[in-house]
């Protein structure tokens, strides 16, 4: 039987995962269908009551991928509860009657390279360490380049002259990675599109509205699970800053976190776990630099962010910065979120230009 590999979604990065897996294992790899309302309904139907929402999305992604014909599933992650998803997901999917192989790449709450390598070796016996690391470095470069462009988009998309130019080019940019294979092609691709992005006409005022987005990683990266809140804010004409992306998680976290905690020792003494201390540190940083508002997003039931949420009100009070809290659940509806965003926008506009 032909082996078809699939994995749960993580925002736009499914292109990178697809690239890495298909090149290393030389098997067919399918990305699960885009996350929709049906995904979360399927996921929450079979998952335990008060598990956090990423679990439900992941389970829904798996079920939809299995329906499409995948039979090898992989799970990576870690940090908090995310590290223990795999075992229960496997058990639930088996009890639903699907036939598949499940590979858990996590050991002791972190993705282990050893397990990942043995997984690649099992599916493709011709692969070796050099090939794997070559493609791993390529994918890392891809992630860094995607994040750099995304950062530029977040800063400038709200002020474009002709609406829709940025999004069109972004789509083209992301799909261009699908068929680039060598490292040189990836780098070349990045610079080509960077200059094209820079050429798009923008009309940016000297002192625009600035909003910082902080919170839990999954709902920040995966725009579908947070009802495109970030994009909606950008389109209102706001300069949005966000630190948390995959580059942060994989590379810069190590260098950033210790210093950030030391800098904001007025509020936190220890690492709060997962991204909570980064949220507090970033909120403190941007509040003292004079941003106009902070948006805190998390999925329902995220334990570390709850600790952060009991610290954030103090920052908001001392620096007089409004903070809006979102907790995305399976039963949320988009209209309610939209209303809250609009109200928040009106408030920060009035505060700034009164």
């Amino acid at each position: 039987m032909e082996k078809v590999i699939s994995f749960p979604h993580l925002g736009i990065y499914h292109i990178v995962f697809n690239y890495f897996l298909s090149n290393v294992t030389k098997r067919r790899v399918i990305s699960p269908p885009p996350t929709t309302k049906r995904t979360i309904e399927l996921g929450s139907k079979y998952s335990p009551d008060f598990v956090c929402v990423p679990f439900k999305y992941n389970l829904g992604n798996y079920i939809e991928a299995l329906e499409k014909g995948a039979n090898v599933l992989i799970q990576g992650g870690g940090g908090c509860r995310y590290g223990y998803y795999a075992e229960l997901e496997e058990e639930i999917l088996k009890s639903l009657g699907y036939e598949f192989d499940f590979y858990n790449l996590i050991s002791d709450n972190h993705i282990s390279l050893k397990k990942g390598y043995s997984f690649c070796k099992k599916l493709n016996r011709k692969t070796n360490v050099f090939k794997c690391s070559y493609y791993l470095i390529n994918s890392l470069f891809m992630i860094i380049f995607i994040d750099k462009i995304e950062k530029y988009i977040r800063k400038n998309m709200g002020f474009e002259v002709n609406k829709g130019r940025f999004e069109k080019l972004e789509k083209e940019y992301l799909s261009s990675f699908k068929n680039s294979d060598g490292i040189f092609k990836i780098v070349f691709n990045y610079f080509k599109y960077k200059s094209r992005f820079k050429k798009i006409k923008i009309d940016k005022p000297s002192n625009p509205l600035k909003v910082t987005i902080i919170g839990e990683l999954y709902s920040l990266i995966d725009a579908n699970t947070s009802y495109n809140t970030e994009r909606k804010l950008i389109k209102m004409g706001i300069e949005v800053t966000r630190l948390t992306d995959l580059t942060y998680l994989l590379i810069t976290k190590r260098f950033f976190l210790k210093r950030a905690i030391r800098k904001s020792k007025k509020y936190i003494k220890y690492n709060l776990g997962a991204d909570a201390s980064a949220s507090v540190a970033l909120a403190y940083q941007s509040a003292s630099c004079g941003c106009d508002g902070i948006v805190h997003m998390k999925s329902f039931g995220c334990t570390p962010e709850i600790s952060a949420m009991s610290i954030l009100p103090r920052i908001s009070e001392e620096y007089n910065v409004p903070i809006m809290y979102f907790s995305f659940d399976a039963e949320d509806n988009e209209v309610g979120v939209d209303t809250r965003i609009e109200a928040f926008y009106d408030m920060i506009v009035r505060r700034k230009y009164k």
């Binding site: 509860r81 223990y84 220890y270 600790s307």
Partner: protein, 304 residues
């Protein structure tokens, strides 16, 4: 005579794990321990007002206890625990509890120690550092630590031995699998224990077993589990499961580890009656008793 320093210990979370040690240790280095009372409605209400409504019920109760203690003592003992080594992590709540308490009560003086084996912050070193604040006599601190640990071990052994005696009786035996800070708390687990005692059922607890032994047993259940406290309770459940007639899983409302581990345990343990009870702020006594009654009736009917 110099007045003794009063150290407050909230009766929640790690109290159930470390109290014997804390009491012995703190008294030997010259402090007076002030313990908060059993959880009651008022404490829960205060805690609820102070915390974010999504946080778990034991943490709300914890803040309630700290609120009770805040003007009755000089310091409040709030440990921060990250891990006890590889694959021995704890729930994220314990990582952030110090900072949460610091920010919710800005005027309270907090006594914290940090356990993080992966970064070299061993339990002994952290406690030693804490103790030098109050007592400059190094040998006294060493002796206190040694004695405290010995006392704690003896206490745990006596609890386990008492439980082994119950195993020999012919009564209906029911095992309760839960975190100690849920089931031994009067407010959360009191109703369940009282009702079971009224029904003349022998109760066993999964946490009353040698901890190292329990972690070894948990490897049969799951190889990738990395929460130490969950490992202990699941290991205890596996150890006792053949000797009991039924298992009750008790967890508090949005408990992180329990939401995954208990679900998996219920799916994996077979041929034994299992009930999963989730304790909430608004859990009604009558509804809980009905569920327990029908569970016990079912076990009795099954045995005959």
């Amino acid at each position: 005579m110099r007045k003794k320093i009063r150290v407050g210990v909230p009766r929640a979370f790690l109290y159930y794990r470390y109290y014997v040690f804390w009491k012995c240790f703190l008294e030997m280095i010259g402090c007076q321990v002030v313990l908060s009372p059993e959880t009651n409605k008022e404490i829960v209400q205060n805690g609820k007002n102070l915390s974010i409504d999504e946080s778990c019920l034991p943490s709300k109760i914890y803040l309630g206890h700290v609120d009770y203690l805040k003007d009755k003592c000089d310091y409040i003992l709030v440990p921060r625990i990250s891990n006890y080594g590889k694959e021995k992590r704890v729930c994220m709540k314990f990582l952030g509890i110090v900072d949460v308490v610091c920010n919710v009560f800005p005027n309270v003086r907090i006594l914290d120690y940090n356990i993080d084996y992966l970064k070299g912050k061993f339990e002994f070193i952290s406690i030693f550092k804490l103790a030098t604040k109050f007592n400059k006599n190094i040998f006294r601190i060493l002796w206190a630590y040694f004695l405290g640990k010995k006392k704690e071990k003896k206490y745990n052994e006596s609890l386990a031995n008492r439980q082994f005696k119950i195993l020999k009786s012919n009564n209906l035996k029911i095992l309760i699998v839960s975190h100690p800070y849920v089931i031994h708390d009067r407010y959360l687990g009191g109703t369940i224990l009282d009702y079971l005692k009224k029904m003349e059922v022998d109760i066993l607890f999964s946490d009353r077993l040698d901890r190292k032994e329990a972690t070894c047993y948990s490897k049969d259940f799951s190889k990738t589990l990395y929460w130490l406290y969950s490992k202990e309770s699941i290991g205890g459940a596996l150890y006792y499961k053949d000797a009991v007639d039924g298992i009750i899983f008790v967890s508090s409302f949005p408990c992180g580890p329990d939401s995954l581990v208990n679900e998996l345990a219920i799916r994996k343990l077979k041929n034994i009656p299992i009930i999963n009870i989730i304790v909430d702020e608004s859990t009604a006594e009558a509804g809980l008793e009905t569920r327990l009654e029908s569970f016990i009736d079912m076990i009795k009917a099954r045995d005959n």
